[in-house]
Symmetry: C2
Subunit: 425 residues, 2 copies
């Protein structure tokens, strides 16, 4: 962890700048994967799966038997934990659905309102790896179910034996997702974006992934498929002062460092001694971690910045716009009011970032790489659209008609004007 | 207008498919514009403006004097109309801001909530042309102001004399926008995405534009700048039955046709005679339009489809997912309940689409090209983020801690687990 000495905010902004992700080199290969799947459907998916995953499952769709068998493999204590998480995530996300349609009378005889409607068909991507993140199934499928999405498709890469991790399957089954496909990488994104003989075409694709998946999502997004948000390495900022518990803060910093060697954490601290104490404690804890090699690399690339007040710390985190922000100070609730740019904020000493990753109820799919300046984390809005409606009475159009005619004429759009004129006659 | 005969829903979907926009040919030139502005700032903006707009204004920023002078040029009746529109748009958009922070106790000792916070810096693009669409200034700047965006930058291409249309300037002044730049095309998008010596860098860019602007927005979006939504030609669907007023329906269809030769309208009608009546009436009205040449081309590319019930009409519009949807039937309010995919819905015979374009209060920036399946039209969410917050008490972490530890261990993320363990000790 290095210390950023900065002369002013602009200087801090420059010094805390994240390294740019390089993707130009893989765009051609991803483009060709997309084209192949678009043109040849399942046949291309099978060929690409064989090529990239070394073997291709006989059936791309996981069977009901596989889902049932997976359920039996998951230990009881993990099932209990997952049910606790599910309950909390459901409660928080359910609360975000606006069922009431506030009809606004904008002027006499005119009523306008919004209605939240589920996106009909959504796709979820869950990456593979030695320990696939089943928690992401909960974070994506629970809001999709609550929204009322009619078709939920889940893709995840097959392991060498052609199966998918049993906890991922268990979570899918628990949430009533029946279309689980053993397809990974850019070919999975292509299959969901264009549809194949077996994989339904969806309107929006969610979920994390490697560089190939990320680029594939970007490319299909520039055509006609919506995506959740731009993806980047995980991040965490901790705001600390002289009273912060160094053991907690160090553990929090390392929890993000273990995600990957390119994860980034920042410590914003108003006390030089505390900074040193937290760093020393983190180095002590680092030694004990199974994923020490990864965490160490990320920790080395991470920064601490000493500020002269907790308020100044928030000014700087607002510039950095972290994915996760932990306020580990006694005045955390006051500081929380000043947060402008962050994905998810953890207020107070017991609110660790892990809680939000798994079970407290908030979503863990959040904007990274400074995207928190313009993007929200995943929430019910991500799975629903707000359609606007309006009714206009005969009296309403009489009252407002001339204004519309005048504006349409000034924009030289006479047919627009005429649509009012015929109604005023 | 041609008639689609369809055998089933899938067949209708294929036959009503929109032509794909071709942009590959201009990507290289747009990329080079972006690179130049990124590297050379204002100097590149000036060179590119001279190249594409034939002359470059002495000052890129419109002065206070220019804004004042523009105000004097706008006729009083147009000012009055604009104020009526402004008032209605403000009322409807203000109603969408959620100030209340509903704190949800997801489980004992854990509170989670969302807070709507303005995006700090936003950019607005207003295209040029013989009659620039000042109404778009209202539709973009009013919600930006209501949201509380601190920096609002507006770019619009300079006319041959180096000035910007006075109604556009008047609307900007009316809404308190002081940073109006005389820059157009891809160079404007680049200036706002990267920032230059005079143009502030923004986090999100809004507004319509030609192919170059659209591609530039897509390209900066794949890096770090958010954009409002994918852009495409304007669209309108009208649902009609035997009682529909043909004169109104014809005028509505033509109002979208006049936008451009690639605009598309669709008539979904449950009565063959009414179909013929509406088409004949549209052809009659078409002759009288100043923009007849444009509207005629769009009308020729547009379709009518005869259905056996009004409900079936809605099933098909849900497949087509139009930007604008007019329900011109007596049972419009019942049909409105069945709408799943549309940008903005106009319910009943007096609710013409022009009303929503200008003055009724709803936003006119809406998803086109079928994007209504996954995207909302512009609303307050577009200018604000929802940040999640959580507090966890000592008791709260004790209650939920084990579940988090179990899940983190199952994902082999021991540092995540440890962040809880240190707090449970």
């Amino acid at each position: 962890m290095f210390t950023i000495d900065y002369s002013n905010d602009k200087d801090f902004e420059l010094r805390s700048k994240r390294p740019a992700a390089k993707t130009d080199d893989i765009i051609p290969v991803v483009k060709s994967v997309l084209e192949e799947v678009k043109n040849k459907g399942d046949k291309a998916v099978r060929e690409l799966t064989l090529k990239f995953d070394k073997s291709c499952p006989k059936e791309l769709l996981a069977t009901a038997e596989e889902l049932d068998a997976a359920e039996k493999e998951v230990p009881e204590d993990l099932k209990k934990a997952i049910l606790i998480a599910k309950n909390n995530i459901e409660k928080f996300h359910q609360s975000q659905i606006i069922t009431e349609r506030k009809k606004i009378t904008t002027s006499e005889g005119i009523e306008c309102w919004q209605k939240m409607v589920a996106i009909e068909k959504v796709g979820i991507y869950i990456p593979g790896g030695s320990a696939p993140l089943f928690s992401t199934v909960l974070m994506l499928a629970i809001p999709a179910k609550l929204a009322g999405c009619k078709e939920i498709v889940l893709c995840s890469p097959p392991r060498s034996g052609g199966s998918i991790n049993s906890v991922v399957l268990y979570c899918a089954k628990l949430l009533g997702i029946t279309k689980v496909f053993k397809i990974g990488g850019a070919q999975a994104i292509a299959a969901m974006a264009y549809g194949t003989e077996t994989v339904p075409k969806v309107s929006k694709i969610f979920g994390p992934g490697n560089r190939f998946v990320t680029v594939a999502k970007q490319l299909v997004n520039s055509c006609e498929t919506a995506i959740d948000m731009p993806a980047g390495p995980s991040e965490l900022a901790v705001v600390a002062d002289k009273n912060t518990n160094a053991e907690f803060a160090a553990a929090d910093l390392l929890s993000q460092c273990e995600h990957g060697p390119d994860s980034q954490v920042g410590l914003f601290v108003s006390d030089e001694d505390k900074k040193n104490e937290i760093i020393a404690e983190a180095e002590r804890q680092l030694e004990l971690l199974p994923r020490k090699d990864i965490a160490q690399k990320a920790f080395a690339l991470s920064f601490a910045v000493v500020v002269d007040s907790n308020e100044k710390a928030i000014e700087l985190t607002n510039i950095w716009a972290p994915e996760h922000l932990i306020l580990a100070t006694d005045d955390a609730e006051i500081l929380a009011e000043k947060v402008i740019n962050a994905g998810s904020v953890f207020v107070g000493k017991y609110a660790c970032e892990s809680a939000g990753d798994y079970a407290s109820g908030t979503n863990h799919t959040l904007p990274t790489n400074g995207a928190a300046k313009a993007y929200s984390g995943l929430n019910m809005d991500s799975f629903m659209k707000k359609i606007t409606f309006q009714t206009i009475s005969e009296n309403g159009i009489k009252k407002i008609g001339n204004a519309i005619e005048t504006m349409a004429a000034a924009e030289q759009l006479d047919a627009h004007k005429n649509a009012v004129t015929v109604r005023l006659k």
